[in-house]
């Protein structure tokens, strides 16, 4: 099964639903801090922030959304060409005692999230860390799970999941493709 799995309306509905789940799970969004993982986790975090603000007026998107670059915590740096380092911006209030929700586009091996958890522990001590992803494609290599999932997509390892977002790619879509080596 290849082709476009999610279109713009489905992505939008998934974000709205995740926002509601975050509010429900945490009894409101007052302590929530959203951290997007660049590149495509970041615009998703901002969309999720807007959705949260629409549900709980105590949540201020501008003060509660940040970006968390995990490049320097990756475990595969020496296996790949040198990566450019992305931007990390934290909310002014910091992460201590906050409810941090990590936001990423595709949840795959879990290694990115492992790196993100390490990065967070260098930045502060949140009360709890949760994970929101737009797509869970399986094939975990570490004991990590997501708290909020937009859509589960069963894939084979050779397939590729491309998330395209209007802020970066000019359109909203999740596309499943056959990998080049398959």
């Amino acid at each position: 099964m290849t082709g476009t799995i999610l279109g713009a309306p489905e992505i939008s509905r998934a974000i709205t639903r995740i926002a509601h789940e975050i509010v429900e799970r945490n009894n409101g969004a007052a302590d929530v801090v959203l951290l997007g993982i660049p590149t495509r986790g970041l615009p998703l975090a901002y969309r999720l922030a807007d959705a949260l603000a629409g549900i709980d007026s105590a949540f201020s998107p501008a003060e509660r959304t940040g970006s968390l670059d995990i490049t320097m915590h990756r475990d595969d740096l020496h296996r790949q060409p040198t990566r450019a380092i992305g931007v990390t911006t934290l909310p002014a209030a910091g992460l201590d005692d906050a409810t941090v929700v990590l936001v990423d586009d595709v949840f795959h091996t879990g290694r990115t999230i492992r790196a993100a958890l390490d990065a967070i522990s260098d930045l502060g001590r949140p009360r709890v860390v949760q994970l929101a992803v737009l797509v869970d494609r399986g094939h975990r290599e570490l004991p990590i799970r997501a708290d909020f999932v937009g859509k589960n997509i069963p894939t084979s390892r050779s397939e590729r999941v491309d998330v395209r977002l209007a802020e970066i790619d000019g359109e909203d879509a999740v596309v499943l493709r056959q990998g080049e080596d398959a």
């Binding site: 020496h78 296996r79 040198t82 930045l123 502060g124």
Partner: protein, 324 residues
Amino acid sequence: MRHLLTTAGMSREDAVHILDTAAQMAATQDREIRKLPTLRGKTVVNLFFEDSTRTRISFEAAAKRLSADVINFSAKGSSVSKGESLKDTALTLQAMGADAVVVRHWASGAAELLATSGWIHGSVVNAGDGTHQHPTQALLDAYTIRKHLVGGDANGAQADGKGLDGLRVAIVGDILHSRVAGSNGYLLNTLGAKVTVVAPPTLLPVGIAARPELEVFYTLDEALSAHEFDAIMMLRVQRERMTGAAFFPSPEEYTRMYGLDAARMKRLPEHAIIMHPGPMNRGLEISAEAADAANSVIVEQVANGVAVRMAALYLLLAGEEAAE
């Protein structure tokens, strides 16, 4: 990037990439926990054949903040003082498994020799070779200038991806013996800045007037009348390299003609920054008033040096090329 030896021939793209990486490294240094696991398991050797405080400490801090192991090797009190050659020292380091060698040497070209000889497999970073090049110093100077004068944001975040286009920088003093000037001349020019050098004729290298990208003045007052400088870089008078010849009649005269004092400071535009690679000879090339002025960024240069060296070590050691 395999080695960092010189700024001559460095592409603008590479230079800007190093500065952008340095900006991200600097951001990590404001955190509660400043150590990153990025270079865990890598070994960096500081190989210093010449005295140095800030460059060695700066490289050591940079490597440690990235979790690399650091071995310091200084020629004093080592087998070099017993007559060991550079080659044998290098072979020893290779046997110890150095992933990167940061080398400072009194001979121009020592870093190049180390990198091209095949004696060691690790990356070589030139931390100053004789009167030739000192690339990380030039990069930290460029980073400091960009942070203050490009983009307008206090954190320099808006400056990402940009060069130093249109800025005018004066380099004043002992150009002849200065590897800092040697590296800055190329790098600032590559990044789009206009460079003016100011020095007595005796302290200029032969042939510098023939380099079209550099403008030369023989007194500081002439230069200050001719241009509005955005940054002025005072160089140390390197008395230890001035053996056997007289380069200027007296220190007093040098100060009178080339020293940055309060009166000359007032002739700089308000936004101009005052720089010095250190160590300073207060009262000789720079007055205490200028060194401690509000627009002096001399201490900040040291902090930026750690970020720039973290960036250099990251770009040299983190990727797969380093694993060969």
